[in-house]
């Protein structure tokens, strides 16, 4: 096992270099650079643009820029943001933390809700409840999260117009005067702001995951050993939870490692629409501005987490599934 882990870690090294170079190349292949938009300012002279380009190193060949960046990276320096004129890690880290306020509860909620729904759907296949849940799942799958967020804002406003109170905030992460609040109120304030974004961010995924769980469970329930268990006269509860569920849930356990990169990758467009100061709006800004090292740096962190996550997944799989052994 130790040999296996070591071998996997060794494999990560060429993957890392290959992937970062590819990412860097793709970003650079996009036309223009950070200064292109400024070129359309009637007051800025071409000489100034050229000077800034040299200052940012954007006039050098791509391989040279990559090597410089890689050199920084090996010193654990992700590079410098053009727009913020500050180290990438310094500017992205607070955003990642903000995103986690949504992502972590939403992930927990996802598993807590989607798995029971899936199990229910499988056990009571084609019952009225299953049909209703399936119907809702299809809606959940088809409505994009940004649109769901807009609907949520609309509903909140309508409630405000009718009752005069905002039950949940329409946007943002904290209220005015947040800095003056005592710590406990600050936590409650953030929690109050997070409710709607968390629900919206979870809604889509619940649909998908519960359908998967339902499928897995149905498949396991059709297996011979379940029939055997039932024939043996085991209680239905034991059949379902001890035999069927434990096997059906294996693929989900195996994907837990894959959650690692999603922890830092933000909650998506919900953040943009509801003005949540997470990583998504920030990253979109960086892409729009072609803030090279922010994009590259963020991709690198995601990449590393993805590689670690995959490794954890494989180990988890070996741990939960007795049929798999790495030697």
């Amino acid at each position: 096992m130790t040999a296996y882990i070591l071998r996997r870690i060794l494999y990560l090294i060429p993957t890392f270099f290959g992937a970062t170079f590819l990412a860097f190349l793709i970003i650079q292949l996009a036309p223009g650079d950070y200064l292109t938009q400024r070129e359309l300012d009637p007051k800025v002279t071409p000489e100034t643009i050229a000077r800034l380009r040299a200052q940012f190193g954007l006039d050098r060949p791509i391989y040279e820029q990559y090597l410089l960046w890689m050199n920084n990276l090996l010193h654990l320096n992700l590079g410098y943001s053009f727009a913020f004129q500050a180290p990438v890690l310094e500017v992205i880290w607070p955003r990642v933390v903000n995103s986690m306020v949504i992502v972590i509860p939403s992930t927990l909620l996802l598993y807590l809700v989607a798995i029971p729904i899936g199990v229910y759907g499988a056990v009571r296949q084609y019952s009225l409840g299953d049909r209703i849940l399936s119907f809702l799942a299809y809606i959940g799958l088809s409505v994009p999260s940004f649109f769901l967020a807009l609907i949520a804002i609309y509903v909140l406003l309508q409630i405000k117009f009718r009752t005069g109170t905002l039950i949940f905030p329409v946007s943002g992460m904290t209220s005015s005067g947040f800095e003056q609040m005592p710590p406990l109120r600050q936590i409650l304030d953030i929690a109050w702001h997070a409710v709607v974004p968390v629900l919206v961010a979870t809604a889509n995924d619940i649909a998908g995951l519960s359908r998967l769980m339902r499928g897995q469970m149905l498949e396991v329930l059709g297996q011979d050993y379940i029939r055997t268990a039932r024939a043996k006269g085991l209680a239905e509860r034991v059949v379902l939870y001890k035999h069927a569920f434990r096997n059906a849930v294996i693929p989900f356990v195996a994907t837990l490692g894959g959650l690692l990169p999603s922890l830092i990758s933000g909650a998506g467009f919900v953040e943009v629409v509801m003005a949540w100061p997470g990583i998504t709006p920030f990253f979109l800004d960086a892409i729009a501005n072609q803030d090279l090292y922010v994009i590259a740096g963020f991709l690198t962190v995601s990449l590393v987490l993805l590689m670690i996550g995959n490794l954890i997944s494989d180990l988890l799989l070996a741990w939960v599934d007795p049929r798999i052994r790495y030697e």
Partner: protein, 582 residues
């Protein structure tokens, strides 16, 4: 005699003892000093996040240093007249040759840390802005044709600007906001540009940010909210007509809301106080909320056009396709193309009736600069067909497109940046109208940076036919772009061969220089009128239409501008004169 001397001495002393105040004119606000209340918080939203507190490296129009300093310097513009009036200067005098302006700095002004604001602050600020290695966005402001504008300290409260030649923009240059020399100076001397660039990042503690303007940073939460509080030092020399210190507000909060729908929701919910809806849908939602009594607010629809342009430009440098090149270089052709642009349809369809047609390079909002007499070449398909016939395009081919005697069809590609739905709609309207007269236009939406790359490419053969794009920026003093008009200009988009190709380009180039160096406003406007006449003949760029400005505010605010000066140039209010009614 002796008595008079003592009297003068006493007066001089009194002047030193109390700050020389700047009284904010009553005509800038609708509120009387007697109805004004002090205190409260103004809440606003902005679309993009702040990136630094450092005034020397900030590059965005909406930035923290400009907000806390009020972006004001020795002189400011009076929004009721457009004139430059002394502000941080108490007075100024222009030398006989008009190359030097000497400013007497107001005494008694203080930084928020209590240190006096003096000539050294301007000198240091100018030094850092003009240090190439710093990369300040204001760098180019301090050069005319590559020659530097220099500042000289005469004494602590007198400063002289020396220009390499007379310049219409002279006062705008002098309007830059000073920053404290006692903070930036020592770092600059010790570590140079690199030291400056590391200062005042977003991680800097708010209490370390020193301001000479109306606001101080109270707190900043990245991506969320900037909270500013009143700078008491500012109120010592900024007073309203009744002598009350300004600003009236205690706090000014700016929420960062990236999505305009969310901004609208915040405004409708009463969580922000000012908002400028830009689409028909947003305007009608605000109007509906007001009419149904759900929101107590004021909305001024079509207050003015916005200061931006949308235009179509043809490429004069197409050596690889002499037929197209000669076509694009023909002013008859371009005039015909102006006649096929249905500007009213653009306003109606693209801007939902809330826009303004454009015919000259001067933004329609700069009314005093617009020459009303220049020909407009409005939408007229018959006229377009006639002009094309004069160019020899009489017959139509099997598909119904015009061809000349040698069978060459009028056909060109028209590009704009993908994702800009308004420009895409404009392009589609042009395609349809062109088809009616027998001109084939192939529309393509391409990536913005690719588009800019094509537009700014130079040489005898450039890779595009026609592009729809827009510009913003350009001042009230001289609204013609320094990069746009001169033939060697980087944004001389139609012809980037590096030289004037048409005698009228040469004329425009010369008039541009003359206007830029003319200090008399009236004479300058005359030159501007003349330039618009030549532009109308040459038609290097076909102007289309632009959106309008529609400010809205919650009625808990008072102190907005009188209606006559509410516009995209002057905005809806001066923050200093804004107060909370309830």
């Amino acid at each position: 005699m002796r008595k008079a001397f003592w009297l003068a001495a006493a007066l001089a002393l009194a002047g030193v003892a109390s700050a020389q105040t700047f009284v904010w004119p009553q005509k800038w606000t609708v509120a009387k000093p007697s109805e004004v209340k002090r205190g409260g918080t103004l809440r606003q939203a902005t679309i993009s996040d702040y990136r630094t507190f450092n005034p020397f490296i900030t590059a965005e129009a909406d930035n923290v240093p400009a907000t806390i300093s009020g972006a004001r310097g020795l002189v400011i513009r009076d929004p009721t007249t457009g004139d430059w009036i002394p502000y941080m200067a108490e007075s100024f005098s222009v030398s006989a040759n008009k190359l030097e302006i000497t400013f007497k700095i107001r005494k008694g002004m203080k930084w928020s840390d209590g240190r006096p604001i003096t000539a050294d602050d301007w000198i240091m600020t100018w030094r850092i802005h003009t240090d190439k290695a710093v990369g300040s966005n204001r760098y180019d402001d301090f050069f005319i044709d590559g020659k530097p504008i220099t500042l000289r300290k005469i004494d602590d409260y007198t400063i002289r600007f020396i220009y390499p030649r007379t310049d219409a923009d002279a006062f705008r240059v002098a309007s830059f906001a000073p920053w404290p020399a006692h903070i930036f100076g020592p770092v600059y001397q010790k570590d140079g540009a690199e030291g400056i660039k590391k200062m005042w990042t977003l991680n800097e503690k708010p209490e370390n940010i020193v301001s000479g303007g109306p606001w101080l940073i109270e707190s900043y939460r990245p991506g969320e909210r900037l909270v500013l509080k009143r700078n008491p030092a500012f109120g010592e020399w900024n007073k309203d007509a009744a002598g009350n210190p300004l600003p009236y507000l205690d706090r000014y909060e700016i929420k960062i809301v990236k999505d305009t729908n969310a901004q609208l929701a915040e405004f409708l919910a009463g969580n922000i106080d000012v908002f400028a809806p830009s689409t028909v849908d947003h305007i009608s939602q605000v109007r509906q909320a007001i009419q149904q009594g759900r929101l107590d607010a004021t909305l001024k629809v079509n207050a003015s056009p916005v200061a931006s342009s949308q235009f179509m430009v043809f490429n004069w440098n197409k050596a690889s396709d002499p037929f197209k090149q000669s076509l694009f270089r023909s002013d008859k052709f371009r005039r015909a193309m102006s006649h096929i642009v249905n500007r009213q349809a653009v306003v109606d369809i693209v801007y939902g009736g809330l826009g303004t047609p454009m015919y000259t390079s001067v933004y329609p909002v700069l009314t005093q600069w617009i020459n009303p007499k220049v020909p407009k070449y409005e939408y007229d398909l018959r006229q377009a067909a006639k002009l094309l016939a004069e160019l020899g395009f009489i017959k139509k081919d099997r598909e119904g497109y015009l061809v000349d005697s040698r069978g060459r069809r009028i056909e060109f590609n028209l590009a704009t940046n993908a994702g800009n739905t308004q420009r895409e709609q404009i392009a589609k309207l042009i395609v349809d109208e062109a088809k009616k007269v027998g001109v084939k236009v192939n529309f393509q939406a391409i990536d913005f940076n690719t588009l800019v790359g094509q537009l700014l490419s130079s040489g005898p053969d450039r890779p595009f036919d026609a592009i729809i794009i827009g510009l913003t920026g350009g001042g009230l003093d001289w609204p013609f772009g320094p990069n746009v008009v001169p033939c060697k200009g980087n944004l001389h988009m139609w012809n980037k061969s590096g030289q004037c190709l048409d005698p009228r380009e040469t004329q425009l180039d010369a008039l541009y220089s003359r206007g830029r160096t003319e200090l008399d406003f009236k004479k300058r406007v005359e030159i501007g009128y003349r330039m618009q006449e030549i532009e109308a003949q040459l038609l290097p760029v076909i102007y289309i239409a632009g959106p309008n400005y529609h400010p809205a505010w919650n009625n808990r605010l008072g102190g907005e501008h009188p209606d006559a000066i509410i516009s995209s140039i002057w905005g809806q209010r001066e923050l200093e004169l804004t107060f909370i009614k309830k």
